[in-house]
Every structure is written in C-alpha cells, then in structure tokens.
Assembly symmetry: C2
Homo-oligomer: 312 residues x 2
C-alpha cells in the first residue's frame, strides 16, 4: 500500500489516544503519571517502575520516591528544584553504571528542564533520560527555503551525519535542536543555525516563529511527548547553508516534489517530516482538496498534552 | 482579571476534554454517540434523547431510531442515504411544528452533510439542527489583509449585520460561511467572497488555504464540533471589500493592535476570533516569547475529533 502523509504523521505521533485501547501487557504503553504537587509532569512507562523501586530499596529510609499503583512522586523531603535535580542525577548515574537502560548509552551531558505547576522548573534532567520518565521536551526546527527567480519554492534539507547516535544518515530540517536549560526559543535558533548550518546571527535572526508541532512518540527508549517550535526562514539565493559542527553531512536544495518523495520514502527523521508537512500546509502545498486526511493531520500535528509548559 | 488569548480560545473550545470531569447532571454535556455501522458520527446531548424517544413512540413499529443507554443509531430498515435523510427531515419538521427546540427557530433551509464510515455522506440535515445531534460541521473563513507601503499589516474585519439571527453586530472575518452540501472548500470561498464582500472570483481565487481550526463549542442550542478551513488573501490596497447580501454591515481596515484590542474585548463572534489568533501565530505576531499559552492555544485550535470528515 502506498505511504501517505497521514502514515508519516502516525509513525511519529504513535502513542495511543484516549479513545484508543492500550494493551496493559505492554509495559511501555502502560503508564503511571509522575506528579508534583498533584500536577502531572511526566508519564512513566512501567518498564521504568521496577528499576525505580529497586533504587528506592538501595536507599536508607525515607525513600526518595513515593511509588504507588496510580502515581509516582518525589518524597516530601525532596521539595526544592535543587533536591529533585540532585536525586534524579544520582539515580541516573546509578542506572548508567548498572547499564539498566539502553537509553542511557546515548548519554549527552545536556540538561533539559522539566516544568512543574505554575510553570516553574521542577528539576533538570540529562537529555537521554527524558524518555524513561515521559517528560515533555522542547526543541526548535527551522525550515530555510528560497524562491527561484521564476517564483518556485525550494527547501534546504540537511542530511544527518552517519556518525550521529540517533537517526544517522536520515534527512532533517535545515536547522534543529533541543532547547537546553536557560535558553529561549529564538536564542536556540540562532545558536543552532551557526553550529549546524554556518548561518550567522544576522541571518538567523530573520527566522520567523510560525507555530509549533506537538506529538507523542514511543521509541524503544521510552515515551517522548515533544513540542517543536517551528520557524520559517526565506534565504536569499546566494546564502548557502554549510555544515560546521559535524552533525550534518551535507545540505540539499530540493524542490517541493523532491522533498515529498523523500518524506513518503521514510528517509526523514520522523519528527522532521512532520515539520515539513506543517510547512507544506501553511504554504498551500498540501491543501484540503489534495489531502484527504487534512484535518486529522492538522490535529495530530498539534496534540494536546496535560503537562505544564514553559513561558519564555 | 485581564482577558487573555487563551480565555478567548476557551470561550469557543468549551466542551470538556477527556481528562476533564463532566457533571453527569448537565444533560447538555452528558452525551450518547450517534453511530452508523458502529462508527461515531455525532454526539447527541441527553437534552435531545427524550424528544427522540417521543418521536419513536409517535411512529408505528419498527421505530426509526434505536435508542440505547450507550448509543443511538438508525433502525436497520433505514440503511440508505435517502432513507436516513428523509427520516431526519420528517423528525425535524415535527420538532419545528411542536416547537421542541429553540435551535430550530433559526431554521435556515440549508442542508449540511454528515459524514459516515469511508467518508461517504451518511445523510444531510437542516443546518440549524446540527447542534441537536452534535455532528461535525464545516466552514471556510478567509482573512483578507493588506500591507501598507511602509510594510505594515492591516486586516479587513467585517461587522455582522444587526439583523443576523446569530451574533448580530459582532465582528467577523472578512469572509466566512458554512460549506453546504455539494460545494468544495474553494468553491465556497469564491461564492461567499462575492456574497459577503463583493470580491470577484478572479480575486477570491487567489486566496490560499493555509490550514484549518477545529474546536468544540457548547451553546444553548447544543453541541457544535466544528472545522473551519482557513484561507489568507493579501489584497492590493485599492481593493475594498463591500457588503453585498446584507449579512455584513460594514468592513473595517484595522492594524494588528486594533484587531487584538477588539478580540480581547470579546467583540468578535467566538470562532472568528480563533481564526485571527491562528492568523497571528502563522504571521509571527503571536510568538512563543510573547504568549505564555502558545502550545495550549495551538492544540486547542486543532482539536482532534473521532468523527469522519470529508475528502473534497
């Protein structure tokens, strides 16, 4: 059967919706909320729970985590940002040493914020560990494009380096990156535009925020509800993105039909394909009259989460 | 407390989400799905159920509707488009004569399609009755705007006629209308652009489809899950929309700050405010860094429904 844009969206937004039945035997899809002051800030797959119980038992009482059938939360003596951050750090060092989770083999030494009630940061956590707790992560994705003198739109597509630990050799947006602790969305765009595409700040600052996609992907590493703020950047035709930090192998300048073909051939990193599908909807390339699943695609590109999110 | 864009969105997308508790005593929010071949095609508020039971009992057996605690569906002898359309028509004529529902006082004599499994049209129904069955309805909304010689964006805003039965005197998008049976989205745009704004086809055809908003509004008349396909149209500065069919009183050409002020003052028809909020996100006026509820707004503008939708 031919692959459709909806199939591509479902490859990425693949966590069951409330009306879809979850096989409770699947310990990855069967989850327990991570609470802070009764607010849900993560969705812990049951594959994490037994390791969390073991970690508790390696500790003297009071245990650091309260682990009930219907929720997990921090013990009451861990009630500050610093204390929560420290216990999560200790836990992850233990799990990394004991090789408890393959996810931690991709250790990045990057700290991601986890938002709590009132949008305060509840704690920060090593990036590679976020799927073990199903916490919402944030990134920016920039689509750079040109208009030819004939008015034709072409997109700058990155090819990920073959040495990247995740999705090596796959196609990617022109610039993309996670939003680390203490950076805003537009600061992240400017930083990543230089690191990944050699685009100087005076050009990257012209990128326009035009929305966000939100989706919930299940991978072998765990649960990843993600929000990617999307930026458009029309480049002059003589500005050529170039790899700088080794994360990108090369850039292609493709017309829309070429981009579509590579999306439908599953050659893009899944979430990057979604950013381009959103781009194509906003730029009237995908239309109500040529896409039978227009509404379903739009809804799945903007999945609603119950988690707190940042205010930049 | 100051009104926010999120408040404006919640005014319109006000049906509870799956994680929100519904007061079962509220017969409008307590619902029973309308099924066709086991596919949910509507969400009937319990305020409709007793009238539906009464209608059944006015009939000889076999009753036209199967009304169970957990679903409503058509009796098996009503298994074609024509038969379902006819029984709904007879039912509504009865209810209109008996003044069963205030919703039917706004009788429009316009037929709306209700989609069923495989995206076939299950039946058509008088427009004013759609909230009694919570069926998904479809419309187009066009935002016309100009750029001044200084590059400033101004939007054409319609003021609804004071004689309109719904939302008289409220502000509206430049052009908007329901998609009637047998018209496509772009045909509806062209038709409404002439009727409401005197814009000729050669101009209206330049409108670009740039997405859709989907939301679920509860009104005193019933339940309205709605999808509005959104179009942008940049007009030359010398093209002036003018009322034609009496539904619009006049047009204003406002800069963005004026538009924002009128939105936050609740002067727009609720769903039209949402179309402009979506416009402002796509045009980088509302940004991650100036809107704390950016992600929540985007998700609520693209609510996911389980109903079948058209393929134009």
């Amino acid at each position: 059967m031919t692959t459709t844009f909806l199939d591509i969206v479902k490859n990425c937004d693949n966590f069951p919706y409330p009306n879809e039945k979850i096989d409770e035997e699947n310990l990855m899809l069967s989850t327990v909320p991570l609470l802070l002051n009764n607010v849900k800030i993560g969705l812990i797959p049951k594959t994490t729970i037994s390791a969390l119980k073991k970690y508790n038992e390696q500790h003297k009482k009071p245990y650091p985590f309260i682990i009930e059938d219907t929720f997990v939360t921090f013990a009451s003596h861990l009630n500050t940002f610093e204390e929560r951050t420290q216990i999560i750090k200790n836990l992850l060092i233990t799990w990394r040493e004991e090789k408890t989770f393959p996810a931690l083999e991709g250790w990045r030494d990057e700290l991601y914020p986890v938002y709590g009630p009132s949008n305060d940061i509840a704690f920060v956590i090593e990036r590679s560990a976020t799927p073990l707790f199903g916490v919402l992560t944030f990134g920016v994705h920039l689509s750079a494009y040109i208009r030819t003198p004939e008015g034709k739109l072409k997109m700058w597509i990155a090819k990920r380096s073959k040495t990247k630990p995740k999705w090596p050799g796959y196609l990617d947006n022109t610039v993309a990156g996670g939003i680390p602790y203490m950076l805003s969305t537009s600061e992240t765009v400017v930083k990543e535009a230089m690191e990944e595409a050699s685009l100087p700040a005076e050009i990257a600052e012209k990128a326009k925020p035009v929305g966000a996609i939100t989706y919930f992907i299940v991978t072998k590493n765990g649960l990843q509800p993600e929000a990617e703020y999307v930026y458009d950047l029309e480049l002059p035709i003589d500005v050529i993105p170039k790899p700088l930090d080794g994360e990108v192998e090369c850039f292609y300048l493709w017309d829309i039909d070429e981009v579509k073909t590579h999306i439908l051939a599953n050659e893009f990193k899944p979430n990057c394909a979604l950013v381009i599908i959103d781009f194509m909807i906003r730029h009237s390339i995908i239309k109500p009259e040529n896409e039978p699943s227009y509404l379903e695609i739009l809804s799945r590109l903007h999945r609603r989460f119950e988690f707190p999110a940042p205010t930049f």
